[in-house]
């Protein structure tokens, strides 16, 4: 059932308004904090207010503006979009609180929080995009809004990282635009409301080229190898930004774009006939293993996290590329599972850096005694990535392996297994170093400020909840299932 409801347009717009107010608040710390938090909170409330309806199968739509006939900005909150919006707006609130604590003494906070709030707006815009053009618009805007955050320190290194970031993501954006125009030319529409709008009539070669075009475009932000180069470089940004890039916004809109391309532009049936998804799955499989292997050799904590992100994102791509309902479920829920676990880790990295100034893993000896809660949260996230039952990551691995077997591609079940081992190989040493190596400094308990510790612990709690009950309040598994049913026509 479709209902016209302005809330799908208000959700991105309200953060836009708050961003403007943050800029207007200039140097008034109180008002800046107030508007930053209200940007996150207001959006969360609006998104959540649509959740009961969405769970009943209501799809909210709103056509904002039509530039020319058939080409315009329109919003639509279907199950997949709702799922992504719920995840990102929940995490955004946590990240905003954390950022306020983390950025306490940094210069240029007005610019930072202004663009930070803009990013909320654009991510939800991506989630609720009704057509490829709207998706492209917010996808590109997100690139532009994250750039000032990446170069926040204004050091030569940061500027260089910013350039790399832009070079990759803007090229990706160009591919997305080209793909969108091409889709419109072939299908006469760009809507994402159908389970596939293209047909075999367009010809095998054209469709393959278009698929490559769109996947390459979205694949840049989803960091599919070899398009991942920007991600480790962008680590120079302040930690809340890294969390934002890696867990919530940037990489996830890439993965989300891949899902939209596969499920709503091409459709499962067409792709099965076309056979291109085998290649994508292979690429994702290679990325999962290769990125994990590289991660083992990183001593810088944030760089290790970055390569872990690259590996984890390809779970989502692999799940989508397998074209089986169970794997699709895994792909969608992994948006949430990866997000909560990875953001926990980044919060931990930031807290350690702010409290002790340490960034390299070999310096972490005994840090578990100094920051027990923080490192406890880290342990939860690490166990989730390894895929231990009761933790969120297990759910993904379970469904993804089942999906691989369902589509007769058992090799990917082995990839899952291998990835678990590799994850153990690079997370467990950190836990060992933190808790079991003797402290080199005096082991007084000295935790991060509550604005940083609080969000860390909450996210870790979510990781546990997601693993234990599957259906956490506010993180509805049912939405993922509804999306899968729609896509596979079940």
């Amino acid at each position: 059932m479709e209902v016209v409801d302005a809330r799908v347009a208000i959700a991105p717009a309200i953060s836009l308004l708050c961003a403007a107010l943050v800029f207007a608040a200039a140097d008034h710390t109180f008002w800046r904090r107030f508007f930053s938090l209200s940007a996150a909170l207001a959006k969360l409330i609006i998104v959540m207010s649509m959740l009961p309806g969405a769970l009943k199968g209501v799809v909210y739509t709103f056509d904002l503006v039509e530039f020319t006939p058939g080409v315009g900005l329109a919003f639509r909150a279907d199950a997949l979009g709702m799922f992504f919006a719920v995840v990102s707006s929940t995490l955004w609130l946590f990240t905003s609180i954390y950022a306020i604590g983390y950025m306490e003494r940094e210069p240029n906070r007005r610019r930072f929080f202004g663009f930070f709030a803009l990013c909320v707006s654009t991510t939800v815009g991506v989630a609720f995009a009704e057509n490829l053009l709207t998706l492209f618009l917010f996808y590109e805007t997100l690139t532009i809004c994250t750039y000032p955050l990446v170069v926040h320190d204004e050091t030569p290194e940061a500027m260089r990282a910013g350039r790399t970031y832009l070079a990759y993501t803007l090229t990706g954006g160009a591919f997305v635009l080209l793909g969108s125009i091409w889709t419109y030319q072939l299908a006469g529409t760009m809507t994402l409301s159908q389970p596939g709008i293209l047909t075999m009539e367009a010809g095998r070669t054209t469709l393959t080229a278009l698929f490559v075009c769109l996947i390459a475009g979205f694949g840049v932000k989803a960091a599919i190898m070899p398009l991942h180069g920007w991600l480790p470089t962008a680590m120079v940004a302040p930690t809340p930004v890294s969390a934002l890039l890696h867990a919530v916004a940037v990489v996830k809109v890439g993965a989300f774009g891949v899902l939209r391309t596969i499920y709503n532009v091409f459709g499962v049936d067409l792709l099965q006939e076309l056979g291109v998804c085998d290649w994508l799955a292979a690429l994702a499989g290679i990325t999962i293993i290769a990125a994990s292997v590289i991660a083992i050799f990183q001593d810088n904590f944030k760089r290790r996290l970055a390569f872990s992100t690259i590996s984890q994102l390809s779970y989502i791509v692999l799940g989508a590329a397998l074209l089986s309902p169970l794997a699709a479920t895994a792909a969608i829920v992994h948006i949430a599972n990866q997000a909560f676990a990875k953001i926990t880790m980044f919060f931990v990295a930031g807290s350690i850096q702010r409290t002790t100034g340490k960034t390299a893993i070999h310096e972490f000896a005994g840090i578990g005694y100094r920051m027990p809660y923080t490192m406890g949260a880290f342990t939860v996230a690490a166990l989730s990535f390894i895929g231990i039952p009761l933790f969120a990551g297990f759910v993904t691995k379970w469904y993804l392996s089942l999906g691989a077997l369902e589509s007769d591609q058992w090799i990917y079940a082995l990839v899952m297994l291998g990835s678990s081992l590799l994850n153990a190989a690079y997370w467990l040493p950190i836990i060992y170093t933190a808790f079991f190596k003797s402290p080199r400094e005096d082991a007084l308990v000295h935790e991060a400020h509550w604005t940083m510790l609080g969000p860390t612990l909450l996210c870790a709690a979510y990781v546990l909840l997601l693993g234990m009950t599957v259906s956490v309040p506010g993180m509805p598994f049912a939405l993922a299932q509804a999306a899968v049913k729609f896509v596979f026509g079940m």
Binding site: V65, F67, T68, P69, L137, P148, L177, L178, W182, Y184
Partner: protein, 496 residues
């Protein structure tokens, strides 16, 4: 003809007479000549609005000078393409308003009244070019606007300005000659100078001279439009001229080449006497090369106006590529961009002018960190930059969308690729610019504090920046003019 038609003649007479009278009326006072020019341009703008309202209600209409009927007398004709007078009037008015504080700083006092004379003459030339229905008058108006443009480039009297104007003059004179040659050939072939009449007589004329005539016209107009490789005059001329003049030159004067091309196409398609596929292919490729070369050179500029000048070459490339692809989508895209690029480039040039006026700096290095002291101007420039790259929902987006769609429609995906990646290259140097404004530390902290530009500068820049956004969101508005015009263009002898 209804009683309204004489308005069309007055529409040209008023700015022409106004231009000539400027030095007399102003009595060599810069302030008074500014007021006079604003008054004349406001009246002209008001008239343009009523003309456009009429073309929307009734369709194309004509005014016959002296009552001599079409093929014999001189005809002024107002059709949908002529709606571009609105943009000429708007930009002209804003550029003149902007000049109030700019001109006294850039020019010696005794030249100021003549500056407004030349500017008004230039605008009259363009208005006349757009509404004339007669080939010879097309040439005459081309000369009016070109000659005044050379003088405007040189008006500051600096050595570099004179050199740039001279280069512009040489290229411009050759192109005018080429246009005149083409017009002469068409007259010899058909015995008529009225464009509609020529169109109907073209069928059955000798082929070789006809090709030569169209080639000469195309060549002439392409020099005026600064299409690669005929662009060499543009960067210096546009960068060195006073900023309001740069805005008019870059936003409007180069478009005259494009509008001239559209007139040529109207005749060629209308008569069906000549096969344009070879020309179209050439234009498409030259357009694509222009996009890339313009962007490529722009990336290496440090002078902000030089950068904008090269960006114009890229954008002309987009428009010409759209013309060359010759599908209905791409023609719509090209025509829309004639309007929208004018708005965008005027925003950028006037914005840059405000920065230069306030700081005395024109390089990115010199303008580092300016975003802190001139937030409104730099915000407007940023909007212009986003528009010119073509990010929705700004004005630059529609053109790219339609031309790319046209390329795919014509079965030439390679040009869609060139277009999208050309836009990417363009993005790079606008990012350099925005970077310098916002993310770089000012050069020397000891310099006197810079203030935001005066209102007569700021208001035009902000109006234009707002229009960059509005025209993107209300993209349907220009389409209501352009779609019927393009349909008519592509239908042989369908002109009403």
């Amino acid at each position: 003809m209804t009683s309204w038609s004489p308005l069309l003649a007055l529409f040209l007479v008023i700015p022409l007479v106004g231009a000539v009278l400027t030095p007399v009326v102003s009595d060599s006072s810069g302030r008074r000549s500014w007021g006079w020019a604003v008054f004349i341009m406001s009246v002209t703008s008001a008239m343009s609005v009523s003309l456009i309202v009429r073309v929307l209600e009734e369709g194309p209409f004509s005014y016959v000078i002296g009552g001599w009927v079409a093929p014999y007398g001189i005809e002024l004709r107002f059709d949908e393409f002529s709606a571009s007078v609105a943009i000429v009037c708007l930009l002209g008015l804003l550029a003149i308003v902007f000049s109030r504080h700019y001109a006294p700083q850039a020019l010696t006092p005794e030249r100021i009244p003549y500056y407004y004379t030349l500017l008004l003459l230039n605008l009259t030339g363009m208005l006349g070019f757009i509404v004339t229905g007669d080939l010879f008058n097309l040439y005459v108006f081309t000369e009016i606007l070109s000659l005044s443009a050379y003088a405007l480039v040189a008006i500051s009297g600096e050595k570099t300005a004179e050199m740039a104007a001279f280069k512009y003059l040489v290229m411009g004179a050759v192109s005018s000659l080429s246009i005149l040659f083409g017009v002469g050939l068409l007259y010899a072939l058909t015995g008529s100078l009225n464009m509609a009449d020529v169109t109907s007589r073209l069928a059955g004329t000798a082929h070789a001279p006809l090709v030569m005539a169209f080639a000469a016209l195309t060549l002439g107009f392409m020099v005026k439009a600064a299409l690669f490789p005929l662009h060499i005059w543009l960067p210096d001329a546009h960068a060195i001229a006073p900023s309001p003049v740069s805005a008019v030159l870059s936003g409007l004067v180069v478009k005259i080449g494009i509008l001239g091309m559209l007139r040529v196409y109207q005749m060629a398609y209308g008569s069906g006497a000549i096969d344009l596929s070879g020309l179209n292919l050439t234009l498409t490729w030259l357009g694509a090369i222009s996009i890339v070369m313009g962007a490529f050179f722009a990336v290496f500029q440090d002078d902000i106006k030089m950068m904008l000048a090269y960006s114009t070459i890229s954008n002309i490339g987009y428009i010409v590529m759209g013309l060359g692809l010759a599908s209905s989508y791409s023609l719509i895209g090209a025509s829309v961009h004639v309007f929208n690029h004018a708005l965008i480039k005027a925003t950028l040039f006037l914005g840059a002018g405000a920065l230069i006026h306030q700081t005395g700096q024109r390089t990115l290095t010199g303008l580092a960190g300016i975003g802190r002291s001139m937030p409104f101007t730099t915000a407007a420039i940023s909007i212009g930059a986003i528009s010119i790259v073509g990010i929705p929902p700004t004005a630059g987006f529609l053109c790219k969308w339609y031309i790319a769609l046209g390329a795919l429609e014509a079965g030439e995906p390679i040009f869609a690729v060139a277009l999208v990646f050309g836009a990417l290259l363009i993005f790079i140097y606008y990012i350099r610019m925005v970077n310098a404004f916002y993310f770089r530390k000012p050069q020397d902290a000891g310099a006197p504090a810079v203030h935001e530009a005066p209102l007569t500068m700021l208001v035009p820049v902000l109006i234009l920046a707002a229009l960059c956004l509005i025209m993107g969101i209300l993209g349907r508005l220009p389409l209501s003019f352009i779609e019927p015009a393009v349909t008519r263009l592509l239908t042989p002898l369908g002109g009403g």
